[in-house]
Symmetry: C2
Subunit: 350 residues, 2 copies
DNA sequence: GATCGTGTCGGTACCGTTTCCAGTTTCGAT
DNA sequence: ATCGAAACTGGAAACGGTACCGACACGATC
């Protein structure tokens, strides 16, 4: 004499496979066979079991399945800073692919701290994820590499360079052509002193962007005027480096911000000092964000498809999760978009 | 005669508690007691077990523990769009708190699709998360509410309003005072026709912002000039609505963008039509982003601490995960920051 | 009529823990 | 010396499934 409402109440204990078996009057193993689509099942059996399943609102326990099968259908995602729109876009791309394949994504923020990278990787390892996607805060931190070498599940590295022996799949952007195009554009406009504000050398994109700038300058026969301000990919460094540039004599006539956080710091400093873009300073940024297109004037930028970056990272991982044992590498392009933030340098500063 | 390298090779099978027990020559249950800090353990026993643990590099299997204990130490996080910086900031705040408490965060993007909301919640339920934090795409979709009523773990809802009977904890912003201050500021500058571009009415912030605007206008004795363009909180709607506003006659003299995506659309449309801010149109946006501060001119905005929003959501969930059975509600403030994007309307349009 | 394959099904040994229960020892108190 | 409680330990039953193995019935085959 139980009423319908209580019978389907959320708080009641969930049914187990054993109860289904008892209700259907069959063996537990038969229930398992029916539910997992095993061929050795008569239609009569299938019907009885499915009816019991429906009546008890049974659903299999994911934990028990995972323990028995040795797979959790989950992947760990270590990211430098989720609140960075770039990283968020990568995450978004990866998440949708993983979700489509039935995997779920465990997210951990490393706050761009290399030590947390290592800690998170270890954590995921004990959490028994089936694979990991990593956007490391530093490629060279020994503790991270040490931990990585003990990981026994497939790894995909996003826009980073890691030692071969880790057997990680990799998806990267080819940052050089984009930067090269940007620098050539500036040089063609008449700029000679171009400053690149960027992060530390333990990140692949940073090294490649610097290399791309050198390539472009060398290609145009300019060898001694490269100005590179490395630091961190943060607004603070962008702001401080811009201040430093503004104090230089002779002053650079163009700035390339090596990331969207750096961009914010640069714009803040330039605005504060009343430096007009592009009148007093030409300006290029790396990685397209809302600000670059909507700024007045719009800011020329070296862009890339970040959602694709995440999507492909997830696809590479899925490949290895479904049997492919050899790691792969995918390189995605970057493209330069000229905008009104670049103009010939003021006559006096040439 | 195995060499050291292979012995510590990552690919070897991980040791189980049984192997530890055999090596230490004790019962499995004793190993468990030592590792879980049970008081009934002799120091001799502890020593033997710990040595075996070290020698085998044993670490407990999280899956088996979860199955046995009935807790997974993981929480599900359903979010409308992770690539929205606002949502990303909330996520960041929540993640760091959860991480600090030993929980991991399962992230699923609903792509602002209410049907995916429901699907994800169900998915998390079968995944056996210990709790969920939800930023629903729609508060009113029956399928979502139906699924929610069957959830048997604690729920926290972020900046949304859900029926009492779901027993969800809630953290929300009080959007009215912020918008009210913004509108009053505009009115005091001389504006009478103020347009609010916002999303659909099935979201708490949308309703509250509209209400806040009405309150402010009524407070100033303006009753018949409220212009509200509801749609979605997207750049497309922001752009289309702005176009519509520009065609109105008499034309509104101020626009309030009801979100950061809307903001992007608005700015794009205004720029394309050569509408100058604040000369031709005063402008306010909701939710601070890089663009609002760094735009020329800087854009006045109704801001809030989004990281705190996420942090408190996580804290509310942790409370309920550690025994507190009654749901709670926390309200966080919003504040208006006046900036150069607001000025008195042009003489002709008063 | 014995043999054999095939389609079904039940029994049971796991997966790796936790925890309860019962048994043994130790030890201070009477 | 004896008793009882407390400290310690091992065995085994869970947790909720999966999958292998063997049993059985049945028809087909020679």
């Amino acid at each position: 004499m139980r009423d319908g409402a209580n019978w389907s109440d959320a708080r009641r204990r969930r049914a187990s496979m054993r109860e289904v078996a008892e209700l259907a009057n069959v063996a537990i193993s038969s229930v398992s066979r029916v539910l997992s689509g095993h061929p050795d099942v008569s239609s009569d059996m299938r019907e009885r079991v499915l009816e019991a399943v429906a009546q008890l609102e049974y659903e299999p326990d994911f934990l028990a399945q995972s323990l028995r099968r040795g797979a959790t259908l989950s992947v760990g995602w270590v990211i430098g800073d989720i609140s960075n729109p770039l990283m968020a876009a990568i995450t978004s791309g990866a998440e949708s692919v993983l979700r489509g394949a039935g995997y779920s994504m465990l997210l951990m923020n490393s706050e761009n701290d290399p030590d947390l990278d290592a800690a998170h990787i270890r954590f995921f390892q004990t959490r028994r994820v089936d694979g990991m996607i990593l956007s490391l805060a530093s490629e060279r931190r020994p503790s991270t590499l040490e931990v990585l070498s003990h990981v026994d599940v497939p790894i995909v590295v996003v826009d980073r360079e890691v030692p071969e022996h880790l057997h990680a799949s990799v998806v990267r952007n080819d940052h050089r052509p984009g930067i090269r195009a940007a620098v050539e554009h500036l040089v063609d406009l008449g700029h000679r002193r171009i400053a690149l504000i960027t992060g530390a050398l333990d990140l692949w994109p940073v090294r490649e962007r610097i290399a791309g700038m050198h390539e472009a300058l060398a290609g145009r026969g300019i060898t001694d005027e490269t100005i590179t301000l490395t630091g961190s990919l943060s607004a603070e460094h962008g702001e401080a480096a811009t201040e430093e540039i503004l104090r230089m004599d002779p002053r650079p006539t163009a700035i390339i911000a090596g990331g969207n956080q750096v961009l914010a710091g640069c714009v803040r400093a330039l605005t504060r000092h009343g430096v007009s873009i592009p009148g007093d300073m030409s300006f290029v940024t790396c990685d397209e964000v809302a600000l670059s297109e909507l700024h007045t004037p719009p800011i020329a930028s070296v862009g890339r498809d970040t959602v694709a970056l995440g999507r492909i990272a997830a696809e590479l991982l899925l490949k290895r999760l479904t049997g492919v044992s050899e790691p792969e590498m995918v390189i995605l392009p970057t493209t330069f978009t000229a905008r009104a933030s670049c103009a010939p340098p003021a006559a006096g500063s040439r």
